[in-house]
Amino acid sequence: MAHPFQMGLQDATSPIMEELLHFHDHTLMIVFLISSLVLYIISTMLTTKLTHTNTMDAQEVETVWTILPAMILILIALPSLRILYMMDEINNPSLTVKTMGHQWYWSYEYTDYEDLNFDSYMTPTQELKPGELRLLEVDNRVVLPMEMTIRMLISSEDVLHSWAVPSLGLKTDAIPGRLNQTTLMAMRPGLYYGQCSEICGSNHSFMPIVLELVPLSYFEKWSASML
């Protein structure tokens, strides 16, 4: 989860998120270069003693500042598209979990083998145990097996929501009447937090998502106990 005064993205838990982290570094570097160039040009323009303002013909510089941005954009677009297509690769998930967004909680269904359903409400601040994270903890976490490809099917029962877990690089809209699919693959065990990412009413900020990634044997024990 995020920690106080964090400046960058959370550490990657899935391979796609690692790719996204590197792409973000690459693009941010380009953005910083352009911004500092612009800042420098602005400062020189404000402090110059030169006063000639009637230059009309500047073919060379016009060519340069047309071609160079085009090249920079291509340099950004190619990795971006690569990751986009990587997200859509065939990956043969071993498990399917369905999540429905409601106002204002998430419900999860594990129906591959048995029929397991539960709701996941945010823990109110007064009921937090010491050391728990305010506005992020839930009563029933989504337990999933780690290092296995999981298909998530996301929809909504009422209004638009969005199921997001930043450290896995996931954000998929929950649209009523539509089924959206995303794949999840966590390399590390642990707790991964996310929050609803589409405005859905008064408690939009108070319906978090908590994934608990555990080894397969623990997952099997948990799902048996939840039935």
Binding site: H3, L128, P130, E132, L133, G190
Partner: protein, 169 residues
């Protein structure tokens, strides 16, 4: 003396279009006449129209003399001709001003005003802080995040030394 005599050529207010100078050395401007085609600025310093369009007899004589060889002109005459053609010299046009003091003063004033408003808001408007912002809770929270190894690659847990139970140096 000659300089002052030549200067007096310029000091006449003989009609619209002429702006009188107070005296050499002061950098104030007189009242701007309403309609004039003279307009100079830092990026367009030498307009085609002269500054003084209506000239009295001495000034007209000077302009006639200007048509001859310029080596015949004295320094004071050259200055007078310049003042006829242009409103201000480059040095006068590009002079600094004290505007920055006003601007900074207003900026600091608004900083102070905002600080007062924010202080009042903190005292009279904001509700109680939640329990999770106490130092004890924050310490327990940090311990929990370290226990679950949150962000162990480059983030928080990566900076904790789990063997020595302290922050990495």
């Amino acid at each position: 003396m000659f300089f002052r005599a030549a200067w007096s050529l310029v000091l006449r207010k003989t009609g619209p279009g002429i702006r009188g100078m107070h005296s050499p050395g002061t950098h104030g401007e007189g009242k701007m006449p309403p309609y004039t085609s003279y307009h100079a600025q830092r990026t367009y310093p030498m307009p085609d129209e002269p500054f003084c369009t209506e000239l009295n007899a001495e000034q007209r004589a000077l302009k006639e003399k200007e048509k001859g060889s310029w080596t015949q002109l004295s320094h004071a005459e050259k200055v007078a001709l310049y003042r006829l053609q242009f409103h201000e010299t480059f040095a006068e046009m590009n002079r600094r001003s004290n505007e920055w003091k006003t601007v900074m003063g207003c900026v600091f004033f608004f900083f102070g005003l905002t600080a007062l408003l924010i202080w009042w808001q903190r005292v009279y408007v904001f509700p109680e802080k939640p329990i999770t912002l106490t130092d004890e809770w924050k310490a327990q929270q940090l311990q929990r995040i370290l226990d679950m190894k949150g962000n162990p690659v480059q983030g928080l847990a990566s900076r904790w030394d789990y063997e020595k139970k302290e922050w990495k140096k």
